[in-house]
């Protein structure tokens, strides 16, 4: 009887733990969304932020977040998928592969602030660029690369062997097989992984503090010349992202409506990440459906 009672108590404890975890999430989300929705308006999303007065929006920060994400992905996707192909198809078991694997592991486990410091040294001071979008994007690339490499490697390895062998048996070269057989079949899971990684990049702040900076110059959205200082497209300008904005208004801000601005920004941030997640699942499902139906 005694062991039965213990079993029941233990079951109760595990159920309680599950309930605690779920209520943490529900609590966090309802707090973010309930408090945030009050402040999200078209005006909030389209007015520039203010350093001193209340009523500032997040126009530039929102644009910067997406723009840095885009630049990061333009750099990181080819490198990461390339690295994944190498690990899955070319790397022979041995010392060099072990070293590369350790490098991926190290890069993946580095704290983002350390990557930010490396970025500060490398892309801000040594290059002499100062705080720039490209510096931030390169730092985020370092932070993001191992994730994309792993996802691509796993996805390519999961492609059924028959497909690859059939292609090679037809006399098609290895590289051509990778291009026309392996990559297309691995595409859905690579894409899902990349979108999830994008969500992480979108919310990252510590690596950007010292690389993309805490300020944004006055932007003129009609100016599309990427070399002009006022152009939003200029990659050699400082850019404060949404996540960095939340941090900076809370720790060094002077505006009186800190809570309103951060509540609104936090909600926009979380909703964006949520959308990235949903998008990843949705695209993954649609593509798998299409591919298996054919």
């Amino acid at each position: 009887m005694k062991s039965k009672t213990a079993d029941r108590i233990a079951t109760g404890v595990f159920v309680a733990i599950a309930i605690i975890i779920i209520s943490i999430l529900v609590g966090l989300f309802s707090y973010i969304l309930v408090n945030g929705f009050k402040h999200i308006s078209w005006e909030f999303l389209t007015t520039p932020s203010s350093n001193i007065r209340a009523g500032g929006g997040i126009r530039d920060q929102l644009f910067n977040s997406f723009y840095i994400l885009l630049i990061t992905m333009i750099i990181a996707i080819p490198l990461g998928v390339g690295g994944g192909i190498y690990m899955a198809e070319y790397a022979k078991p041995g010392k060099i592969t072990d070293i590369i694997r350790s490098c991926i592991e190290v890069l993946a486990s580095l704290p983002s602030i350390v990557i930010g410091m490396f970025g500060l040294l490398m892309f801000v001071n040594i290059t002499g660029w100062g705080y720039t979008i490209i510096g931030g994007a390169l730092a985020l690339t370092v932070f993001n690369l191992p994730v994309i490499v792993r996802v691509s490697e796993d996805s390519i390895r999961n492609v059924p062997r028959d497909l690859k062998e059939a292609s090679l048996a037809l006399g098609i070269t290895h590289w051509h097989t990778i291009k026309t057989v392996l990559l297309p079949s691995a595409f859905p899971s690579i894409l899902t992984g990349i979108i999830l990684a994008a969500g992480r990049v979108f919310g990252e702040a510590a690596a950007l503090l010292f690389t993309a900076g805490l300020s944004t110059p006055r932007l003129d959205y009609a100016n599309w010349n990427p070399f002009s200082d006022q152009s939003p497209l200029n990659i050699f300008r400082p850019a404060e992202t949404l996540a960095v904005h939340i941090w900076s208004v809370n720790t060094q801000g002077l505006i009186p409506d800190v809570e309103a601005v951060s509540n609104g920004s936090a909600a926009v941030l979380v909703i964006s990440v949520l959308l990235f997640n949903l998008l990843a699942r949705w695209i993954g499902r649609i593509i798998t459906k299409k591919m298996t139906a054919n």
């Binding site: 062991s3 039965k4 213990a6 079993d7 233990a10 079951t11 595990f14 159920v15 733990i17 599950a18 975890i21 779920i22 943490i24 966090l28 707090y31 973010i32 080819p78 490198l79 990461g80 390339g82 690295g83 192909i85 190498y86 070319y90 070293i99 590369i100 490098c103 991926i104 190290v106 890069l107 486990s109 580095l110 704290p111 602030i113 350390v114 410091m117 490396f118 490398m122 001071n125 690369l145 490499v149 590289w175 990778i178 979108f202 919310g203 702040a205 510590a206 503090l209 010292f210 996540a243 939340i246 941090w247 809370n250 720790t251 809570e259 951060s262 941030l269 979380v270 990440v273 997640n277």
Partner: protein
């Protein structure tokens, strides 16, 4: 052929990124000891941090090193039982519906950016602790709670993988001997999965050790050694975050921040080695 060159180039970039991070941060981090003559012993054992005092600057980083280890260990103490418990709930107690509910919950928790955790900590947790527990609210305790929630998904995910990869025969054998579910979990499954569960905890700790902004927003950032869990404190990451921007590049104070960054780097290598050691001990 062209393709092969391209993909090998990617691999080379990854190796050189890792090596250059280590070399650059290493040489920059050692400068305060080599060039500026800060004593390494003082740096890691003294509790007096006073770099702006012109006549007699002091560079004792022990309070921050202590703070980093304290929040890391405490948050692991909180998050490990919750995470492993959640994993056991998903794999042993309610494998069908429990997993369907808890899995997305964990994935959503991962998706919340760290500044948002920090901000909620600052606006909800800090006032709550100030009013109901005591102290200023900005404390080791706040940092610990925020970090525990942040590393919970890491621990849960890996622990779940570890538990569900245990062979079915273990469970069946134990049940066949008449053991209850709890006895099976405690005497058979947890010991069998122990190295992987430890890996989960270490990975969580390595995340906690390196987390910067969320902790910085709630921990108070003082330069004294905390005497209780309700005291404000500081960690290596929070001091770097706060001071990197407004110290002159190349100054002694700035260089000591790089030394702290170097400690973070060394610790993340240490965590990797620990994980390697644990996975070499995996029995199943």
């Amino acid at each position: 052929m062209r393709g092969k060159v391209l993909v090998i180039l990617c691999a080379v970039i990854m190796i050189s990124a890792t090596i250059s991070i280590t070399i650059f941060l290493g040489s920059k981090g050692l400068q305060s000891f080599i060039k500026n003559g800060v004593s390494l012993i003082e740096f890691i054992t003294s509790t007096h941090w006073n770099p702006t005092n012109k006549a007699n600057p002091e560079y004792g980083a022990l309070p921050f090193i202590f703070g980093s280890f304290a929040v890391t260990l405490l948050s692991a103490l909180v998050a490990a039982p919750l995470g492993i418990g959640g994993a056991i709930f998903m794999t042993e107690i309610a494998p069908s519906w429990g997993r369907k509910i808890l899995q997305p919950v964990i994935e959503l928790l991962v998706g919340i950016p760290s500044v948002v955790y920090g901000f909620i900590g600052l606006t909800v947790l800090v006032p709550f602790i100030r009013e109901h527990v005591g102290g200023l609210g900005f404390s080791l305790l706040s940092g610990t709670i925020v970090l525990s929630i942040m590393i919970l998904p890491t621990i849960t995910t890996i622990a779940t993988d570890a538990m569900s990869s245990l062979p079915k025969s273990l469970r069946e054998g134990s049940y066949a001997l008449g053991a209850t579910r709890w006895q099976t979990i405690r005497k058979v499954l947890i010991p069998a999965a122990l190295p992987s569960l430890m890996t989960a905890i270490v990975l969580g700790m390595s995340r906690a050790f390196g987390e910067a902004l969320a902790v910085q927003m709630v921990i108070g950032n003082v330069r004294n050694l905390p005497s209780s869990i309700l005291d404000a404190s500081a960690t290596l990451t929070t001091i770097i975050t706060l001071n990197m921007g407004h110290t002159t590049y190349g100054s002694v104070e700035n260089n000591t921040l790089w030394s702290m960054g170097f400690i973070l780097l060394v610790m993340s290598f240490a965590f990797i080695l620990l994980i390697r050691y644990l996975s070499s001990r995996r029995k199943l």
